[in-house]
Amino acid sequence: MGLIDIFTSLVKIIAVLAYVYGLLWVLGKSSRWVKIAGILVAFGIIQLVITVNIGGSPIFNGFDLGLLFQACSMTMVALGLNLIYGFNGQFSLGQYGFYGIGAYTAADITYRWINGDARGLIVVLSGVIIVGLMIFGLRQIIHRYRGIPVLTQFTLYLVGTILAGIVAVYIGRGIAPAINPLLGTNLVPGALAQGIPLQVVFFLAIICAGVFAAETSFLFGLPVLTLGSDYFGIATLGFTIVVNTLMLNSDTILPFPEMKGGRGMIGIPKLTTWFWAFVFLVLVIVVMRNIIRSSSGRTIMSVREDEVAARAMGVDVADTKLISFMVGSLFAGIGGAIYAHYIGFLSPNTFNFLLSFNPLIIVVFGGLGSMSGTIAATFGWTFFLEGLLRNLLGTMGTDAPTWRYVLYPVTLLVVMLIRPQGLLGTTEWGFLKDILIKPRVKPQVAAPGPIAPAESQQGLD
């Protein structure tokens, strides 16, 4: 105890940050096979340090592993927010709402599954698919008849979603009895409630949770994204509060007795392993980077830079905002699913609106518009606040823990005053760097190049 713990937790912060840097660096290598090998090694390192015992306990004990899982899920949430705020410029405080939605959705699916009820999976899966199809279909129609006011669009989508939800429930009622016997009961689990089938269900649950969060964000974002930035922030904060209220009343207002409302949902299988956390972390990072470094990503950033100019450049601003909001929420939903199956217990208080400032703090800390900053900041923040600070205060007597939230804001203030642009500013590491295009050597200047005008002529007709 004591100083050694503080020292080791300091070392752990540095090690984790170095690990993150190494992962991003190796992903940035040009050869595909080197990348794959790098990912596998990165996975293996942690798997080793949590498995191999040295002197009675693993190098990374359960405490550190817990922090790692929390950091992974929080990274997804924060990356989603960085996409919405850092890259798209929409000041959102609603990220924790989607985080919570993802957590509860995924937890409900797996909880019911291991308790011999397949309805959770079927209803959510079919609901997610039907709502998705409905949204795509309705979008086509609405785009064809242009000039439909936002409120009308919202009403149509809302009605469509409700209908789709009803259909999904009926599908679930129809199919579930066929599968339920295979699941057994909670005391005598059947074949499908264990082993590999359970892992598959878990995977589906994560995906469903993410998509469900994304679809919710579509419905909510449609009217609200037309508001100006700070107003949007307050509206999304409201969303977090409302989602929290619904969680508190999930067994009274909402028909989910297994969620137990404010008493907290227990008995969620702890399915999150390092494998899943790592896979989804890498997946989220890669997907987000691929979006950012594409034409769609550039339009997302253009909306942040200048909305009016973006419109004039042919960018569908409303659409772009919606897409980034949805993708951001998707990430939050996935993060929530990972979190729920790590902690095994969901309490609405976890998704309290006061805690919903956390991802914002992390994103600003790391640097708006810097993915590396967000990732590094999340790991650093988690290991600092829950690791180092806990060890530090633990050694300072019985009264010290009350100082925790006094030291934390002071640190926050100091960092912000010293580096208001965030720790990394807009710098990116390795893999996440924008590959700069070198000016090609071309002797003739201002002499009309043959390609561009021909192309633009074609476009005219």
């Binding site: 242009r146 000039g147 997907v287 691929n290 979006i291 470094r293 594409s294 034409s295 769609s296 990503g297 550039r298 339009t299 950033m301 253009s302 830079e305 200048d306 009016v308 100019a309 973006a310 419109r311 004039a312 450049m313 042919g314 960018v315 569908d316 601003v317 409303a318 897409i323 518009g369 807009t426 700069l436 295009i437 000016p439 090609r440 071309k442 200047v445 201002a446 009309p448 190049g449 390609i451 561009a452 005008p453 192309e455 633009s456 002529q457 074609q458 476009g459 005219l460 007709d461």
Partner: protein, 266 residues
Amino acid sequence: METTPIQTEPVLTITGLTKFFGGLRAVHNFDLTIQPGQLLGLIGPNGAGKTTIFNMITGLYVPSGGEICFLGETILGQEPFEITRAGIGRTFQNIRLFPNLSVLDNVRIAYHPRAGYSMFDAIFRNSKYEAKERELTEQAQDFLAIFNLENIQNELAKNLPYGEQRRVEIARALACNPQLLLLDEPAAGMNPREIVQLMELIHFVRDRFKLTILLIEHQMRVVMGICEHITVMDFGEVIARGTPKEIQDNPKVIEAYLGKGAAHAA
């Protein structure tokens, strides 16, 4: 395609355009017809409603009344991005580049509607994405080369000097592949040397891309020098139309606008 067969159909027809801001009448009963290939100037004192007209053509403002037809079809009620994609590009009075993006990205954003791949292609980085993205980037680079901006393509737009920002903005507007280009005071804040270059650029661009151009400008040298036809506005209404010569001699224009200073400016 080069020899556009229908010469008679105007590119842009505006009839009875009116706009109120609250109780304030910014534009009243504005009519305008632009023939293909024309270079038309729109002048008038500050607050005459010129930029408001631009904003209505590009869909940023919704008119209180009137009709705007582009290539024979109404564009009223369309979103700004739809209008741009239909073929109307514009620049802004106070330059509106994307300051924290590189010059190349500024131009590539204009290519977005024609990128040829979806976000899903981008997420999976499939061969379609690779090919189209490379093609798009090369196009954008070639395009920048025309404007002599190629060697600054990786600079952030905010770090460029003023004149280059103007050029980038015009290039970006042209990258939208417009048939009609709206230039809002392109010469604002330029010195005489730069203005001469700008006039050459505008001529060059028009011939190169077979464009129709509508221009708002305060610098009489520019307007009188390059426009074939001029419309003069005051208090939201048209007070004169004609060739530069006719306008310079029009007593109504001199009284409302040019004043004795016209002698200085010329």
